[in-house]
Structures are given as C-alpha cells and as structure tokens.
Symmetry: C2
Subunit: 396 residues, 2 copies
C-alpha cells in the first residue's frame, strides 16, 4: 500500500543525533556524540528509598489515573522551587503545569501558538530535538546566528522585520545545546525588550541552568517577564534523571489552559509514580548539596576535555569554553570538510555530532562539531581526544 | 497581552469528562462519570516487588535516557504477547513501538496521516479523548452512527463517498467507550473490506479487549490485516494500571518510522522505569489468572449496576448490556432533557457524563448518558442507581 503521509511529517527524518547514537551503540565507540548525564550523577540510593516508600504508602495513587495538570503537591513544590531557587516569582498572570519531560513543552507551545507556515525563530545552531519538534508543526523555522554571548541582536531585529507571522523565539540561554554558550545579561535584557515590542513570545528552555560550574548565575528571561511573553520550560532530566521524563512549564494562564488541553489530547497525564518521586525527592533531598556534587562532576569532566583538546588538537581547531552544561563546540579551520572529519572519527571509534544537525537550514555550510563531556568516562575523554587530535593534526 | 492562539487550538476546550471529574472531586459525589479501573484490580504486591528489583538490579538503566522506540525487551515481549494472546501475528510488513499510553497512539497516527482539513471518521458516539485529539489536528471529524453491533455500514459507505480526503476510520471494536457496544465479527469483516477498497486506514483502539466478562472473543481488525491498513493501539492501563502510562502500537513499517520521529519530537521516549515494570510484570505474572480476576471484578460490578438500573429506573430509560469493559450507555425517553437530567443528578450527588460529550458534533441532539461501573464501590452503585432511578421515575 502507498501510504498518505501528512505534509508536516513527509520530510521529517529521525534526529541525526539519535541515529548516530544508535549506530554507535557499539560500546567500543567513545560516545562524544551523546548527551546523557553522567550515571554517577543519579541519586540512586534516594530514588530506591523514595520509590519504595511511595509504593508502600500510596500504591493506588501511584497507579491510578491522575489529572492532566500534574500531581498537585509536585506543582506546588515546583512553584516554590521556581520562586526560591530559580528566581522566578509566580506572578498572578502565570500558571505552572507538569510535563512529560521538557521536550513536551516545546511540543505544546508550538501546538498552541503556531499555525502551519507561521515563523519560529531560533538560535542557529540550536537543539535538534526542539528544531525537529517545530518542523513537525510545519512552521517556517528561521535561525538567528549565535555570537559568543548569545544571538546577534541586529540579526534578530532583521528577522523580525523580514519574516511573516513570527510567533516565538526559542532560546536556551544557559550553556546552550550544542554550543555551550551562555547568553549575557545585557543580551537577555535587550532581546526581551525587542520581543516585547514586537509582540513575539519567548520560549525559554533551561535544562542545564543548574549545571553551572564557573562564572556567575544570570537571571532567567522569565524572571524579567513583566509583560507575560515568556514560556519557561524546566526539567528534572539533568538534576535528577532523564528516565523519569518529568519537566514543567510556567507560562501565562491563557496559554497554560490551552497547553493543558493539548496535553490531555497527547498523553492524558505524566507518569504519576515518577511525578511522586520528583515531589518527594525535592521535599527530602539536600538540593544544594546534590547540585554542588553534579557541578563538581561536570566541572572536572569539562576541564579534562578542554585540557585534552588544547594539548592534542591542531591549534587551527577552535572551541567554546562553557561555564556549565554538557557540551562544547569545536570549529574546524576554514576549508575543512567537517562531514569527512566526523566519518573519519567514527572509523577511529570516536563519535561526534556534525554541526549541521543543529542548523535551522541543514544544508547551510558548517565546520563545527558538538562534543559531549558528561557521558564518556575520564579515560574515554583522554583516549578520544588523542584520536581526534591525531586526526586534526593529520588533516589541518 | 492578547495572545495569538493557533487555529487548531483556538476552539479546543478541556474534555467535558475530565472537567466534570474535577468538579466532582468531592468524595461525597458518586463517580458514575469516571473511567478509572477498580483500584482492587491493581496487582500492588507484584508492582512493589518488581519495581524494587529493577531499582536494586539496574538503577542506571531505569534512570538514564533510552531510545524512542521503547525498551527493547518490552517491545519483544509485546510482539510475542500480540501473537500468542491477542491473535495478532507480527507480519513482515508491520512493526511495534512503545507509547506513553494509548492516547499517544491516536496523537501520532493523526500527526502522521492527516493534514489539516483531511477527514477522520469515527463511531458516533466515541471516546472524547480521541475525538479531542483529532480536533487538535484541525481535521474534519465525521461521525458514523452506532448500531447495536457496531457502526452503520451504509452510513460508512455514504461518508466515504461524501467526504473528501478521508484518511482514517477510528474504532473501539470491544466494549466501546462510551456505549459498551462490541462490533460483531461480520461487521468487522465488512468494514475492513470497505476500508481496504477505499484505501482508508483503520485506527483500532483496544484498551478494553481483555476485560471481556461474557460472550465469545472476536478477532481484532489487526488480525485480519492482510492489506496493511490497520494501526492497532494497545494499553497497559486497564490490565496493569493507567498511572504507568504505557501503551503500544503495531502498524505498517513506513508509518511506524514516521510515528517514531513524531514521538521523538513529542516526548523523546516513554518513562523507562514503568516500561521495565511492564516487561518484568509480563515475564513473571500469571497473566491469564490476573485477567480472570479482573473480568470477575467487572462482571460483578456490571451485573450489579444493570440489576439496579432494571429495578430502580423508569422502564422508559433503555440501556446497553456490555459484554465487557467499564461503561454502559443509558438512553432517556423521547422528549427528555438530557442535560437537565445530568444537572439534577449532580444535585443528587451522582455524576454521569452527558452523551453529547462523545459526539463528533457536540451540538447534535442526544438523549443518552454514559455510566461507569468500575470506579464506584458496590455500595455506591446501589445508592447511585437508587437516586438516579428516583429521578427517572419523577421525570419520565
């Protein structure tokens, strides 16, 4: 049978990153292409204790249907956490719901805000999972070039003038995936002002914000949101564990109401056992001590990878120096064949992600690759950088 | 701020059922409006044991990112279960992926098959969660009237002639929500033939198939699917527990490939801990004995409700007599004001769902209400039917 595929999905392909990861499930391949939190970052003993307690004390609540908005005690805990820990006061204009991971926030925001053909602006490069989500709504996806301190503001203003029906600007302000870049406070203030004037929503995705291992914390866009133009998306994936699939969003009430209806249609509600786990974990763990431990893990791993790159790579290869998160971004010298480099790396049993995967226009020229320092062991970081370094010295 | 809402979501409202349930969270209201499995149907001790084992033996696997298609041992277990238990051979043409509950199957099928404005046919009445999902893709939703043994075939053929770009027919062949009606074998064969000839996909939703408590099992549409036109959706919600949010779909490989990309964009993957729970539960439980116990619970509850209705209700109220599932469908006499009846019922602290909630056209006339026998206790069934019965005798 010749199946009719919708226009929105006809040209969609699997995420290049996830396909690379499947191709390199061979454990002998060093996984610089991954994006997994370090396994020793998971609070295993606490999870075991808490899940045991929940199933002993409240098994029926943990197994029965629940409401779409999320487990009420978790919503309340997140409201408080956002105010006290993330510096986001719960304004009268806003509400908070639980999501099945942060990815669902991108999905529901697009579903609610964008007609097919409307424009979504994003950092260029940006997180492929979100870009593919936008594409799956058949929007006009337009990249705004990244600079060292966030997107180019003149390019943002130009895009706002040029593109039709711009509905939102998608940003990962902290330790962006894939570049590791953090948007400066000045740029946050300016781009907020520009979007507010243009009546364009900001979709602020902050999965890595707690993984800062150097420099000073910078206020979120949502904390500045006096105008009600920011949809903030948070996640337990990097602070507790990604397998639980729990995130949340804070957004203006009219949008939360529509997102809730959208979620009802998409998955009814988020797994209740892991919602209860998140709630009780927040209530009983020492969050600051846990985050300090995570930051130390990632500080060391990032420093090790940067050190190896500086020692092993051809000096013609440049890289970002992230202040947190899981990723850094290496750029090969002018004239380099980046895809050829990635293929040679895989032949040497080191997987990196070709930078084109993260571009709004995947056919645009790109000489960069994403490297992840959270998944590989320290030994793998050293060995992988030696192999890549040898390649760069041979080629460039 | 005046928010721009997408056309697809602008007219969407929360599910009437879920709103009624929120309004009647008052524990003194008898919940005939609900759709929860009976809490004593949950295998609590086994869940406690299995989750404890998983977190003791494989905590990192249970907490780390996983692949979009689902936990591989669960996919394999479901392939075998579908062949041995559901009578659905895994054909070369088909593949199976895990879903975050059956609702996600409706979402992904629509996302992959339907452009905005394309037509989706459904039983009329049908499950509101699915209908709202179809609406959230801005399709042309067209109901095909239900008869005692499934949809009207002449009406189906007429709809296929009349409507443009018909992409799929949505069916719940076993103990349908909301009517409790089971589609006969003859009708399954005929409607399969009609759809195959018309090149229209069938979306077969089978959440209740294992809850048959009388009559003979009828082969699924997917078991007849020599042409590759059936997307089958199964669920752990009614056999294990809905809170785990695990379902699955079997569909032709080209569609599974696109649904997987769609799922990647929607929620990355389903909660891994509950996927592992489902796998180990299937591997270690006595499924037949467990299902026999569930069937006995629902047989008794349904019989009790039918008995109370026959004794208490005005004889002018008619009802379906389901052979399984969770619901039955009562129809008030001609001229009755059904919404007024529902409001009076809530005033008497009995919640039922107005039948209009389940119609493709929510403004069409309707004299029926949905009643659920799985959620209320036996005492609540007796008391609730007494109160409703008194109302029916006063009004009709």
């Amino acid at each position: 049978m010749n199946y009719h595929i919708s226009d929105r999905m006809a040209s969609m392909r699997p995420s290049m990153v996830r396909e690379i990861l499947k191709a390199t499930s061979d454990p002998s391949v060093i996984p610089f292409a991954a994006g997994n939190p370090a396994p020793n970052a998971f609070p295993v003993a606490e999870v075991q204790r808490i899940v045991g307690e929940i199933l002993a004390e409240r098994p029926i609540d943990a197994l029965q249907y629940s409401i779409t908005e999320g487990y009420p005690p978790l919503r309340e805990a997140l409201r408080q956490l956002c105010a006290s820990h993330y510096g986001i006061p719960m304004r009268e204009q806003d509400d908070l719901i639980v999501l099945s991971g942060a990815q669902q926030g991108m999905d529901l925001a697009t579903k609610v805000l964008c007609n097919e053909g409307d424009t979504v602006l994003c950092e260029d490069p940006s997180f492929i999972g979100s870009l593919n989500c936008f594409r799956s709504y058949h929007v006009n996806l337009v990249g705004v070039p990244m600079e060292e301190d966030g997107i180019s503001l003149p390019a943002l203003e130009e895009a706002l003038r040029r593109e039709k029906n711009v509905r939102m600007l998608y940003l990962i302000p902290n330790f962006q995936n894939p570049t590791g870049i953090t948007t400066s406070l000045e740029k946050r203030r300016e781009l907020y002002r520009i979007c507010a004037e243009a009546g364009v929503m900001i979709l602020e995705d902050n999965p890595y914000g707690d993984l800062r291992f150097s420099g000073e914390a910078i206020p979120s866009l949502k904390s500045m949101d006096t105008e009600g133009i920011v949809i903030y998306v948070g996640s337990f994936s990097k602070i507790l564990a990604p397998g639980v699939r729990v995130g949340w969003t804070i957004a203006p009430k009219p949008l939360i109401a529509k997102m809730t209806v959208g979620k009802q249609c998409a998955d009814v509600h988020t797994t209740i056992l892991t919602q209860m786990l998140c709630e009780r974990w927040l209530a009983t763990c020492d969050l600051q001590a846990h985050l300090a431990r995570l930051q130390e893990i990632y500080r060391q791993k990032c420093a090790l990878m940067l050190d190896c790159i500086d020692r092993e790579f051809s000096p013609k290869v440049t890289h970002t120096t992230p202040q947190g998160g899981l990723f850094l971004w290496c750029t090969l010298p002018e004239g380099a064949d980046m895809l050829d480099f990635c293929n040679r790396a895989v032949a040497e049993k080191v997987a990196v992600v070709p930078g084109v995967a993260f571009l709004a226009d995947e056919n645009a020229p790109c000489r960069s690759v994403r490297m992840n320092f959270s998944t590989p062991t320290d030994e793998a970081i050293v060995t992988g950088c030696q192999r890549l370094g040898r390649l760069t010295r041979e080629l460039f």
